[in-house]
Amino acid sequence: MTKGAPQLSFTVSLTGKEDAVRIGLAEAMALLAPLELDADEAGTVELVLAEALNNIVEHALAATDGDTAIQIHAKHGPNGLQVAIIDEGVPMPLGKAPDGNAPTLDVETLDMPEGGFGWFMIHSLAQQVQYQRVGESNHLNLLLAVGL
């Protein structure tokens, strides 16, 4: 049973430059306010969006020097929050989203991994993760089981 909010739907646009991610993320989080997510669910959404956006800026848009836009389309329904993140950057290698296996921590301190957690976090926190190349765009579709 959804909470009393009317069906929520919005689009946020941001440039592909690193500082824009903070602003775009804050805008998206503010637009989610009507869902009245508790702090834990809001944290989940913010983490997934941050990781996805960082990944796009780092990889898909690196070659374009951040001169293209990223769009976040969000829609809330009975299954939770559906998010489509669309960019015009280079395709994902292998034509699908990385599986996101976390790097092992069973190593000496000096070999402790500093990266490689992003996709692991996305897969852990999202119910569904799906990537599609549509024409010249990358579409990352996520379902977050929040606000149910």
């Binding site: 690193e18 991610v21 960082n54 921590l105 402790m112 500093e114």
Partner: protein, 112 residues
């Protein structure tokens, strides 16, 4: 990236005076941590109580800080707020670092 430092017997407390350690400031955090801890010998307690959010880049920067201090000095974490705690638990990094709810609790543990 604002970090402040204070001294206790045999401990350096570094407090992050920012709300976010994310991709846009991760490198700056790493550099500032290196600067502020340079030339000291003590265990570092990193007080994160002002930090409301870290992403995987922020986590990586904290790991990098630990590695810079290693092996002579330990990095201990205190004051993890809920979303920050979520990231450490999800990635199991809470088993790699000593984690305390407050600086006081960390200091007490170090004395004991």
């Amino acid at each position: 990236m604002e970090l402040t430092s204070s001294k206790e017997p045999q401990v350096q407390i570094v407090t992050v005076q920012e709300q976010r350690i994310d991709a846009s400031v991760a490198l700056s955090f790493k550099d500032r941590m290196r600067e502020i801890t340079e030339g000291e010998k003590d265990t570092v307690v990193l007080d994160l109580n002002h930090v409301q959010f870290i992403d995987s880049s922020g986590l990586g920067a904290i790991v990098a800080a630990m590695k810079i201090l290693s092996p002579e000095r330990k990095l201990i974490l205190a004051g993890l707020t809920p979303t920050v705690d979520k990231v450490f638990k999800l990635t199991r990094m809470d088993s790699v670092f000593g984690v305390f709810s407050t600086v006081e609790a960390a200091l007490k543990d170090l004395k004991g």
